[in-house]
């Protein structure tokens, strides 16, 4: 963990390094450590935003090293045993209108695990999330939260956080809402102040703390909602299209943050999210489920996409004929969706195909090995 942060810092990735350092400080549950790292972040955040290393470089790295030393002394090894948090068995749901139904879906979610649920619009992703979070009654099957002694819905909803795509409007100052969320989950007094300041800093919301709903952008609302939910320390975090309102950079940051937070050494969470950003989700998630017409047609790690052959997605100025010619004797199926080519081969992997094309002088502006990606099934 610490080496990961050092790696970031060594290569000048200060912003993610700082965020990761904050997560580690949070894992210590040491108020002094959390307070130190919050102050440290507040000092350098503005300077980092200016993107002028001359302003913060040496002082930042010296301070970061000191904090890392303190973290090294205080971090306790976390549990490596990831507990099962949620087990869904044969979950089905049909709406009254009868034109859509969720087929029996099984799902296990472990502490520290991030599962992405992908699929086209109107295929049942949100319905599944709402069923799992207790928002919608099931027609069949069961959802069991294995770590909860009391399976009453109030208790479940106390520990399972659901963030809908359209974030419900909140009122009053952003900071008051965070204090409130922390307090209703039992974080009171000075600890409340400490954690709220930490979350504001961690999600880059400090400058917006005094603002209200109308004064912040939709992207910041998403960040705020996640900070708010995290203050309630849920066991399971369920997010419906959290990337919808974010720019590409923020999407990546959020996904990485969620992954870090889920894998906290002290408070491991299970995270379930839906998204249309297939590439980003696949990069970050431990497992991806593809839902089509209410049915789980694939879950990575459980389904073998390799048997469909190796697949390479690429973008190039070359024509289909030029690609076929460049690949020569290799038995390849070349598909074109109007924007990108997909090359499928049972004999050569993506690396070999790419090498062959480059050797043949084909100019490639984008490529991706989608052999194990759910994108193949879209």
């Amino acid at each position: 963990m610490l080496q990961e942060v050092e790696e970031y810092l060594r290569h000048g990735d200060d912003a993610p390094g700082l965020r990761r350092m904050m997560d580690l400080a949070f894992d210590t549950r040491d108020p002094e450590m959390i307070s130190s790292v919050t102050r440290f972040s507040a000092t350098f955040r503005r300077r980092i935003a200016l993107d002028d290393k001359a302003l913060w470089g040496p002082a930042f790295h010296q301070g970061a090293q000191e904090l890392l030393q303190q973290l090294a002394q205080r971090l306790q090894p976390g549990s490596v045993m990831d507990q099962l948090l949620l087990r869904a068995e044969g979950v089905t749901k049909a709406y009254g209108s009868g034109h859509f139904s969720l087929r029996p879906i099984n799902l296990d979610l472990y502490a520290g695990q991030l599962i992405g649920i992908v699929g086209e619009n109107g295929n049942g992703k949100t319905t599944l999330l709402r069923c799992l979070s207790g928002q919608l009654a099931l027609d069949g099957g069961r959802v069991h939260f294995t770590q909860l002694e009391n399976q009453e819905f109030y208790t479940i909803k106390n520990r399972v956080a659901f963030i809908p795509q359209r974030i419900p409007r909140w009122y009053g100052r952003l900071k008051d809402n965070l204090h409130f969320s922390a307090a209703i989950s039992g974080t009171t007094g000075e600890a409340n102040n400490l954690l709220v300041d930490f979350m504001l800093e961690r999600f880059g919301l400090t400058e917006y703390a005094e603002l209200n709903w109308n004064q912040i952008s939709s992207g910041y609302r998403t960040r705020f909602e996640i900070a708010r939910i995290l203050l309630q320390q849920p066991h399971v975090l369920i997010l419906d299209e959290p990337l919808a309102n974010l720019d590409i950079h923020a999407q990546q940051t959020l996904l990485t943050d969620l992954r870090f937070l889920a894998k906290s050494s002290v408070h491991r969470m299970g995270v379930l999210l839906t998204s249309q950003q297939l590439h980003e989700v696949e990069k970050t998630a431990d497992s991806v489920m593809l839902i089509r017409r209410g049915e789980c047609v694939l879950q990575t790690g459980q389904s073998d996409l390799q048997q469909l052959g190796n697949a390479l997605e690429l973008e190039t100025t070359a024509t289909r004929e030029m690609l076929v010619a460049a690949l020569g004797s290799i038995n390849v199926q070349v598909q074109f969706d109007g924007g990108m080519f997909t090359l499928i081969s049972h004999t050569h992997d993506a690396h070999a195909l790419l090498q062959q094309l480059i050797t043949a002088g084909i100019r490639i502006s984008y490529f991706r090995d989608i052999t194990t990606s759910t994108k193949r099934l879209f």
Partner: protein
């Protein structure tokens, strides 16, 4: 407008007791305190002669409107944060505390309408006292009677009431037998009229003056009205009493007065200035005093009217009434009744708000709609049956209550959040408090019916059930206690179960 210490308290509550904080009671109480001070100061400074009719009702109305605006603003703030609807940590007793917070807030908001009346009361009590008013009224009545002795006709007629159980010998000894019935060989009083017991008791209670004839009966005196100036509501709050017609008759007309008519009039006029309502221009059909000769001719047989046209005593009487009305705006039992009504109104509002805070908006408004529909259906039912008895109403009420209670009881067994059960839960909470009173009322109505059916007219002894008022009072208290106990141990749990259940 919020002082720094209150802001600190607000932040402290937010971070330590979010459930208490979210009810915003502390802020509402602060703003209500400011409103109380504003209304009180305004009521204190407003120029208002206590001898004239009080205008404070208008200020009370204005205060009520301001409070209502505050109530709406409070509701808006209540929308913002709700621990319950965010599935926050709640423990036993939290809901009761929230309920009491709402209740206290409503009481403070509703009670503001009394502030102008309280201020007026204090202002008036500084200038006048009940004992002083009664003393002055007695003096004025005495002096005016002395001043006008002989100006109008004064009568004093005795009327005798004999008890039928009195022994004939005693009656004969008092010389009350004037008629001998030879057929029955018995003596009877000359004027004989049968009175019902209640009528007799009323006559004794309302007699201007009376004399008891041993165990035989009473003599009542019917005297011309010589009490020209009353004491308004002061009589009920003082150890001294207004002198009766009989007292005045004895002291002014049965013996020679102690002072001259001129002196008496001067003294009466001096005292009257303290009380005369300056806005009262009524001189008994005239708008100004009339001549003594004209009054003597027109009102010789009517002392009250004579005094009105001669001395404008009705303005004094009216002034005293206004003063004592300000001192005691709701009379003897009025405050208690008004306070009780205020507490009940606040309690009803609290139950409605509590329901709103613990159900969905849809369920809440459907509950209101269902309440209206149910009331209409019930009224039609009674209208068709032509039934007006309390017992019939009680049976229907209890039937509704039991149905709603049973429905609310099944909430834990539902798989989905049911609109009908949500409405039933709201109604159970709204209807629980009057249940003990309704049961007690029904019991007494049935028991009284049975009593009347099994007793002859002569056997009936009032009150039939002496403990009835006490039991009804206890039933009211019991209703409130049961509501609070169920809020703690039943409703809080049911609302949690119901609200958290998934949608269909």
């Amino acid at each position: 407008m919020v002082p720094a210490p209150l802001n600190r308290l607000d932040q402290w509550l937010l971070k330590n007791y979010p459930d208490v904080w979210s009810a915003r009671t502390h802020l509402v109480l602060w703003f209500m305190l400011l409103l109380y001070l504003f209304i009180a100061t305004f009521s204190l400074l407003v120029s208002d002669d206590p001898r004239t009719r009080s205008e404070m009702e208008y200020w009370s109305f204005a205060a009520g409107l301001l409070s209502f605006v505050g109530m709406v603003l409070w509701f808006i703030f209540l929308f913002r944060f709700n621990v319950f609807k965010r599935f926050g940590n709640l423990v036993t007793g939290d809901r009761l505390r929230t309920f009491m917070q709402f209740y206290i807030t409503f009481v403070v908001m509703v009670a503001i309408v009394f502030v102008p009346l309280w201020v007026d009361q204090v202002k008036t009590k500084i200038r006048y006292s009940d004992d002083e008013i009664i003393r002055d009224a007695n003096l004025m009545n005495y002096y005016y009677n002395v001043a006008e002795r002989g100006s109008f006709k004064v009568i004093s007629d005795p009327d005798t009431l004999l008890l039928s159980t009195a022994a004939p010998r005693e009656l004969r000894a008092l010389g009350l037998y004037t008629y001998y019935d030879s057929i029955n060989d018995n003596y009877y009083p000359s004027r004989f009229r049968m009175l019902k017991r209640l009528e007799m008791e009323n006559q004794i209670a309302s007699a201007d003056s009376s004399r008891k004839l041993g165990n035989v009966g009473y003599i009542f005196y019917s005297i011309s009205n010589l009490v020209f100036i009353g004491t308004g509501r002061a009589d009920d709050f003082s150890g001294t009493y207004i002198k009766s017609k009989r007292d005045l008759y004895d002291t002014v007309y049965n013996r020679a007065p102690e002072i001259s008519a001129a002196d008496a009039l001067q003294r009466a006029t001096t005292i009257a200035a303290k009380y005369k309502d300056p806005e009262d221009n009524y001189y008994g059909y005239y708008s100004e005093p009339v001549s003594e000769s004209q009054a003597a001719i027109s009102y010789y047989d009517d002392p009250q009217m004579y005094m009105n046209v001669m001395h404008h005593v009705n303005a004094i009487d009216s002034g005293i009434y206004h003063i004592t009305s300000r001192m005691h705006p709701f009379g003897v039992s009025g405050w208690r009744d008004i306070m009780l009504a205020m507490l009940y109104i606040s309690l009803g509002l609290t139950v409605i708000l509590f329901g709103f805070r613990h159900t969905t908006v849809r369920t809440f408004f459907f509950s209101l709609l269902a309440g209206i529909v149910l009331a209409i259906v019930t009224a039609l039912f009674f209208a068709m049956l032509r039934g007006g008895e309390f017992t019939a109403f009680a049976v229907v009420y209890l039937l509704y209550f039991v149905t709603f209670f049973a429905l609310s009881f099944t909430i834990p067994y539902s798989k989905v959040r049911s609109l009908v059960k949500g409405i039933a839960l709201n109604f159970t909470m709204l209807m629980i408090m009057p249940v003990p009173v309704i049961i007690a009322g029904m019991y007494y109505e049935l028991a009284e019916k049975h009593y009347y059916a099994t007793h002859s007219y002569e056997e009936i002894i009032y009150p039939i059930f002496p403990e009835k008022n006490f039991v009804m009072g206890i039933s009211q208290v019991m209703g409130a206690v049961i509501l609070l106990v169920l809020v703690t141990f039943y409703f809080s749990k049911r609302y949690k179960q119901w609200y958290a259940q998934p949608e269909e």
